[in-house]
């Protein structure tokens, strides 16, 4: 069951020790949707994203995703410092079997890093590393994109690049973005999911 390319989260729970991080989270997101996940620090936003990505174990409920690869852009850039910009992309693309040299060039041009392709990732600035992390997530031909506070470490140019990516990938992906400042989306339309104390208090899927 589960439609293709629709993300369904139903009654998701996460407990660590005696602490309930997520109590009951339900929502759905279909192709072309852009969801802003908001909420105070410690509301469980990152935990939610990690469970959807498959990096954390859930304690209850379900996550249904029948689409393709999942691109995950975390708070940290998650790069290999001693490998070059290009090698970082190529390694992950080969792991997913989506390697193509033309694509590497396209994406590096999209995030304005083509000039730096031979530099080790460690020498890039924080903002450039973040842009590389975005390119890496796009490199694997994702159908679901998860962003964890992508705007914070980006400057104005970087944020413009990210808006371009969000718009360009919108038709073929489902996108979830954790953010404190949805105003960065500019004129992009979005749906808000506000988390509070491990529950959805705004938006979400009320019918479930």
């Amino acid at each position: 069951m589960g439609e293709k390319n629709v993300l369904v989260v139903r009654h998701l729970k996460k407990q660590i020790g005696a602490k309930q991080i997520l109590k009951d989270v339900s929502f759905q997101a279909g192709l072309g949707e852009l969801l802003a996940i908001t909420g105070a620090n410690g509301a469980g936003k990152t935990t939610l994203l990690r469970i959807i990505a498959g990096l954390s174990r859930k304690s209850g409920g379900e996550v249904i995703w029948n689409g393709g690869n999942i691109g995950y852009i975390a708070h940290q850039p998650m790069l290999y410092g001693s490998l070059s910009v290009q090698e970082n992309l190529a390694f992950f693309a080969e792991m997913y079997g989506t390697m193509s040299q033309r694509r590497v060039q396209e994406l590096l041009e999209l995030v304005d890093l083509w000039l730096y392709r031979l530099e080790p990732a460690a020498v890039l600035s924080r903002g450039m590393q973040q842009r590389l992390a975005i390119a890496r997530a796009l490199m694997i031909a994702p159908a679901l994109l998860l962003y964890d506070e992508p705007f914070t470490s980006l400057d104005a140019d970087g944020r413009a690049v990210l808006r371009r990516v969000l718009a360009e990938y919108r038709p073929r992906t489902v996108q979830l973005v954790i953010t404190h400042e949805p105003q960065h989306f500019g004129e992009l339309g979005y749906r808000e999911i506000r988390l509070k104390d491990g529950r959805v208090v705004e938006g979400g899927d009320r019918s479930a």
Binding site: G17, A18, G42, S59
Partner: protein, 223 residues
């Protein structure tokens, strides 16, 4: 401590322990060649047995924890490891008391002695890893290590036994030649020590649970 004095199980266990000691002292005969020192063996073997039993409990509780994520299982595993360490320490201390007059040496690399020592080190490592502070990662990782340790014990035992059997056997710990009365005293001792283990386990589990609860409450208070 006051609570312990009030609990009936404490007094029952004290009584049983006194009976066990009188059985060892008065009922079990004095061994002909080794003399009175042989009586330490009723404590020695019983604590070694509890040490091994405790590791089996650590293993079972660890498997159960990874399967069901029940916090109780993790607490049980930690308590069992701590008590196992105490009993293995007793084994390691009582052994030389007997070995020095009989074998004329405090220590020898016999398979059993080596395995017991490695077991002791594994317990210490397990406790260091578990840490007892109740974070999810430590519980999970300690459970994995508890399982690996259990798998390792037969490897240690067989490798040391094999090593000793290829080399000339200097001292053999076989041939204890127990009389029926001695055997009876041994079984009484094993049973009493197992009861003592269960009793200590219950106390320690409660203490660890309370400790972890206090920690959680403090964390919530300061959050």
């Amino acid at each position: 401590m006051k609570d312990a004095l009030k609990s009936p199980s404490f007094w029952i266990l004290t009584l049983i322990m006194l009976i066990n000691i009188s059985v060892i002292v008065y009922y079990a005969p004095v061994e002909k060649t080794m003399g009175i020192v042989q009586k330490v063996f009723y404590f020695h073997v019983a604590s070694a047995w509890v040490g091994l039993l405790a590791l089996a409990v650590v293993f079972a509780a660890s498997v159960y924890y990874l399967w069901k994520r029940a916090d109780r299982a993790s607490v049980l595993a930690l308590a069992s490891a701590e008590i196992g360490t105490v009993f293995i320490t007793c084994t390691l201390l009582t052994g030389p008391l007997w070995a020095y007059p009989i074998w004329n040496t405090w220590w020898t690399w016999d398979p059993r002695l080596t395995t017991t020592l490695v077991l002791w080190f594994m317990y210490l490592a397990y406790i260091a890893l578990h840490g007892g502070d109740g974070t999810e990662a430590r519980k999970r990782l300690a459970a994995v290590y508890g399982i690996i340790c259990f798998v390792n014990v037969p490897l240690v035992f067989f490798s040391t036994r094999w090593w000793r059997s290829i080399h000339p056997v200097v001292i053999s710990s076989e041939g204890m030649g127990l009389t029926p009365k001695m055997r009876a005293a041994m079984f009484v001792s094993l049973a009493v020590f197992s009861l003592l283990y269960v009793h200590l386990l219950a106390i320690r589990m409660r203490a660890i649970s309370l400790q972890q609860r206090v920690k959680h409450l403090k964390a919530e208070l300061f959050a």
